[in-house]
């Protein structure tokens, strides 16, 4: 008897949930003037368009050297932004750590800097920095750098706080200084995880760099934007595919590095 009641109650809940969801979906499509059926109906057409226009032609392959050059520029820029951000994040990470941080004020400061730079999307940073630095590669570099500092600081804080503190206690007892303890106990202990996060950041930054490049007019993003706006669709296809290939390559590479160090 009781069991049946529970089952009916659960069934009712599911029905209510589905009804609510349907009403919300309907209301939002009415408000935004979006017709789902129309969207689905145009899908085949869109796919046909993609396959007939976004094709790499022989003509576009002539542009490959320029694209590769831009791609390498973008990758190097992402790596530079990540490595410099790593240095800052390391300092901020130690400051912000709950276990080995020196003072509360510095900890709050570090975590504030981290969340400020992390919670504003990289694209927004690029647009903000564009106003003061103009359209050049420095702006792109800075946008990636700021985003990386936020993300890496956050992950370094977590890595440090999760690591065992026992060696820290032992080194304190030998009379080691604070910096010695950080350098010789904390960092060696956290190094594999930290490297793993840095590699992840490089991958993310290569992806983001394309987007940032469109805004700042540098790197591979600029090539994409250029071909797109001149309706050179084979060029767009070539850029897209080379980005995808580069990202996959970097991912494979960093996965291999991870396997070796972890």
């Amino acid at each position: 008897m009781n069991e049946n009641l529970v089952r009916i109650k659960r069934k009712n809940q599911t029905v209510i949930f589905i009804v609510v969801l349907t009403v919300f979906t309907y209301l939002s499509s009415v408000i935004t003037d979006f017709n789902i059926l129309h969207g689905i109906a145009t899908l085949p057409e869109a796919i046909v368009w993609i396959f007939s226009n976004l094709v790499i032609t022989e003509e576009s392959l002539e542009r490959l050297p320029t694209i590769v050059e831009k791609l390498i520029e973008t990758i190097l820029m992402s790596i530079a932004a990540t490595t410099t951000a790593t240095i800052f994040s390391l300092i901020l990470g130690v400051m912000g750590s709950k276990t080995i941080g020196t003072s509360k004020a510095l900890g709050v400061f570090a975590r504030f800097v981290a969340s400020l730079s992390r919670n504003i999307p990289v694209v927004a940073w690029a647009l903000i920095l564009l106003l003061s630095f103009g359209q050049n590669s420095l702006t792109g570099y800075l946008a990636l750098f700021v985003g990386s500092v936020g993300f890496l600081t956050r992950s370094f804080i977590e890595v440090i706080d999760e690591a065992s503190q026992s060696a820290v206690v032992a080194l304190r007892a030998t009379g080691a200084t604070y910096v010695q303890i950080i350098g010789k106990a904390v960092i060696p202990e956290c190094l594999p995880q930290m490297i793993s996060w840095v590699l992840f950041m490089i991958e993310t930054n290569i992806r983001n760099a394309t987007l940032v490049g469109i805004l700042t007019g540098t790197g591979i993003g600029y090539s994409f934007d250029l071909y797109y706006k001149t309706m050179n669709y084979p060029g767009v296809a070539l850029v897209t595919i080379s980005i995808v290939l580069a990202v996959i390559l970097i991912e494979l590479l960093s996965n291999h590095v991870r396997k070796v160090i972890l």
């Binding site: 065992s164 206690v169 032992a170 009379g175 010695q180 010789k184 106990a185 060696p188």
Partner: protein, 260 residues
């Protein structure tokens, strides 16, 4: 003058419970002293007050003529170079090699930069190898610490304490995570530190028999107070019962278990 004097030492981590209450004892240079008592009696806290890994609330600890509680940061650093410490869980850096972990014991004598750059003198390195040889783990010198067994790791811990050239070595339950065979090896090494090198040893122990076999003197701690402080052979079974609250006081035993 004794090497270590503990006077009316009191310590509490919060307002209602006192971990240590009016602890008094003296330790002469070259003594091997065991501290025994139930879990939560304050053994670890007492040990950590001696090198001020925890702050002293009441009373004083006088080590080698210096009032430990009154030292400034720099003086405290110098004091800690004179005090080696051995831990239950070894507290090594697992990813670093044995020899690196041993040399960590020299940081107290180095400037920050020398320490970070890993600048050790030839004499220090030779001493490190000599100690590893003595402790029977020289062949593991270049292995990572996490590849060693518990007993071997503890020997690395002892080597790290000894390379400090300490006047005293504090051991916080050094054999609590080890099997009987490894425990015997570690206790023998600790005993030889006192006998051969003349370094004072204070060892927190759970095993009453081990304490009686190895130490010159035993200090019994119960609820933060010293209830026994005499030569080892005078620790009779009856007094052990009082110390641990076993047999004679079954009611307190229940409470003991609850507080663990």
């Amino acid at each position: 003058m004794p090497l270590l004097t503990v006077e009316q030492l009191g310590k509490s981590y919060n307002t209602h419970t006192k971990v240590l209450r009016n602890v008094n004892f003296e330790v002469e240079a070259g003594e091997f002293v065991s501290i025994i008592g139930p879990s939560g009696a304050g053994k670890s806290t007492l040990l950590r007050c001696i090198n001020r890994m925890v702050d002293i609330d009441e009373g004083a600890v006088i080590f080698n003529g210096a009032d430990v509680g009154m030292l400034n940061k720099k003086e405290l650093r110098t004091l800690r170079t004179d005090i080696g410490m051995v831990f239950q869980h070894y507290n090594l850096v697992p990813r670093l090699s044995v020899i690196e972990n041993v040399l960590h014991g020299r940081f107290g004598y180095k400037t920050t930069l020398q320490g970070i750059m890993g600048r050790f003198t030839e004499a220090e390195k030779e001493r490190a190898f000599y100690l590893l040889e003595k402790l029977g783990i020289a062949e593991h010198a270049y292995k990572r610490c996490n590849q060693l067994s518990g007993g071997q790791q503890q020997r690395v811990g002892i080597a790290r304490a000894l390379i400090q050239e300490p006047k005293i070595v504090l051991c916080d339950e050094p054999i609590a995570s080890l099997d009987p065979k490894a425990s015997t090896i570690i206790m023998d090494h600790l005993k030889s530190i006192t006998v051969e090198l003349g370094i004072t040893c204070i060892v927190n122990l759970h095993q009453v028999e081990v304490a009686r076999d190895y130490s010159d003197r035993i200090i019994g701690l119960r609820e933060g107070q010293v209830v026994f402080d005499e030569m080892s052979y005078r620790l009779t079974e009856q007094r052990t019962d009082i110390l641990y609250g076993t047999k004679s006081k079954p009611v307190t035993q229940v409470r003991e278990l609850l507080t663990v």
